[in-house]
Point group: C2
Chain length 377, copies 2
């Protein structure tokens, strides 16, 4: 990050500042800490974690970091302070930075919407006469909306991350075919190593490798074991690489031997649902329509998918826009959205089938970024 | 978990129920979900994640799980329901279970203390006339206090996990010495594989492998790269294995070549601080005294440690009791506490040194569970 241009971060903070100014809010607080990660801090500064960020309506970005050495090396902000200077207490840090910036009691200050209720009460009690806002449609929701629409720097990262993902998909298929990858841990660690060799930070989330004995679970637990993978039956591998903070997210299914008739039906239904959904992706379509179509297709055949059809990806493995068949999903797909489709069906006896790829919504349609598949061995 | 006895989980829920009953609270809600993990759900049911748990004052435990197939296989509860039956909405799920249990509006219901302020408002609005509590010293804090004191089943897991950790420490030292492990990713993936081969669920947290170029950071970012490890200078390796949910947490430092005089001073100071702190561990001592002693020792020599001295470990890598030199740390060490000591010093030029091991506080003193060390190559 050291050699990275400060420009995209400053531009993004500028959009937050304009949003604040328009609403008469003096500053917004973003916080990324253990147990409550918010990659918006990274989106706005490049700092990958463990920091509190204040963005003021005047466009200043002040980062208070748990590890100031790391922040000096990685982050782009107008000022970088040490959390230790505020007794490592978030309320102290926020009040301290507000004072340094000359923001006076009485001003509106937006707090993270994820702030716990008892912590909000502490801000209210210790925060003098500041008017603290804490709401679901506040500044962090606005930032999530910005993050959903990838800018050109981000799209460029996704092209490189997708190419690496595709290389890994091919290499993995080859390894499972030739028997060199025959356990869940073999498959998962192969990806860990190969992704880092290719310059990735690592995986975007813990790789889920579920051999035939465990593929009935949506998210097998533990994510991988030393058990068999790619052997007779259905095996699921769900992974993403993280490049410069951004994760891909794909799922392969491996089918070894002759599937039972129920397995065969599940496989062809998932493939059909995937094709139908992919054909529907375009700017302007409400994502609930795509998700509903797949749920209906499965229901017509007596099946039920126990999870959402897909989701946005970015600095988080699950972010906006949603692709979910639920009334509160009001997302309309738009150019710059990067989303996954991951239809899947699971059966305690037959095992699971899931197929997942990433798509970039463009001005005229959708482009598949990755080419994962159901592999018959 | 399938073959696991339901007894410890029922006994733990019984202590929560008694706490509730004593206070006239009808039920407590615990929630483990993406972005807000709470392993208390696992502590009370064995279910490793993505679930909402209601414990009633009558001693019933009702689990609402995102993946009901997985929960049926892994969890021990009086009832297991599907989150999908409540439109995947937490408030609906809580109200639904309260109704099923015959708990009537007007009753007090304790919500997680980590509940976001806007979500609390939604409970208050949609929750009819229930009296929802949400406070820092509520049921989840009580549960964290229970979790801090390991019972005999947990201590037994720690003995096995520590033995595996020690095997890995030895194997890692051998690999770095003989040059077969010479990059950060080599070291980290070696541990990933070896831990799973030994029956662990995986690592307790992402392994931090920082070669000489990056050891100046407390938590190097990214946690590991394909860069050199164990080469000339100071390399830090911070890892833990996760066995049946419980994580160990140790840090090794590797010193290759002749250290500079500043590096030499940092190494001997860290070793001295470690010895002094370890000698102070005993039941009845306020943990702030131990942490303050180390901070003073460093300050006398013109150094400053930018993090806490240690912390409890268990189902989380950082849990109670704290070992921190801060006024709000009122923990007194007690039999059953499992804690780490991790004195460390960092310098942007010289790199970092940290030494960390795990200790079990017993009735008469403390026992070192692991034997990590600073290795001179």
């Amino acid at each position: 990050m050291n050699g990275t241009s400060a420009e995209p971060f400053a531009a993004r903070r500028g959009r937050i500042a304009a949003w604040l100014k328009e609403r008469g809010i003096a500053a917004a607080v973003f916080e990324d800490r253990e147990g409550r990660r918010d990659p918006t801090v990274r989106y706005l500064t490049g700092q990958p974690g463990d920091s509190l960020l204040l963005v003021t309506a005047e466009g200043r970005g002040i980062l208070v970091s748990w590890d100031v050495n790391m922040a000096q090396a990685l982050a782009r902000a107008d000022e970088i302070l040490a959390y230790g200077d505020f007794e490592r207490k978030p309320v102290r840090a926020v009040l301290g930075v507000l004072a340094r910036e000359g923001i006076r009691p009485g001003a509106q200050v937006e707090l993270p919407s994820t702030l716990a209720y008892p912590e909000y009460i502490r801000y209210a009690e210790e925060g003098g006469d500041f008017d603290f806002l804490c709401r679901e449609d506040g500044a962090d929701e606005f930032a999530r909306g910005l993050r959903a629409v990838k800018d050109s720097a981000e799209t460029e990262v996704y092209r490189r991350a997708s190419a690496i993902t595709d290389e890994l998909i091919d290499a993995l298929e080859a390894g499972v075919r030739n028997g060199s990858l025959s356990s869940e841990v073999d498959a998962a660690l192969f990806l860990e190593r190969e992704s880092r060799t290719r310059g990735c930070e690592g995986m975007g989330f813990e790789t889920l490798a579920a051999g035939p004995a465990r593929s009935f679970g949506i998210h097998a637990f533990p994510p991988c074991t030393s058990g068999a993978f790619g052997t007779g039956g259905l095996s699921i591998l769900d992974f993403g690489v993280r490049l410069e903070g951004y994760t891909t997210d794909v799922t392969m299914t491996f089918v070894r031997g002759k599937p039972s008739s129920r397995q065969e039906r599940m496989i062809s239904l998932v493939e059909e649902a995937y094709r139908e959904a992919a054909a529907m992706l375009r700017p302007g379509i409400p994502s609930i329509q795509v998700a509903r179509r797949v749920d209906e297709l499965f229901a017509d055949q007596g099946f039920k998918m126990p999870h959402a059809l897909g989701h946005g990806i970015g600095l988080e493995a699950h972010e906006a826009p949603a692709l979910r068949n639920r009334d509160d999903n009001t997302w309309v797909l738009a150019p710059g959205h990067v989303v996954t489709l991951e239809p899947g069906l699971y059966d305690p006896e037959a095992g699971g089938v899931r197929l997942e790829n990433d798509f970039l919504i463009g001005p005229g349609g959708a482009e598949a970024l990755t080419r994962s598949r159901i592999v018959r061995l």
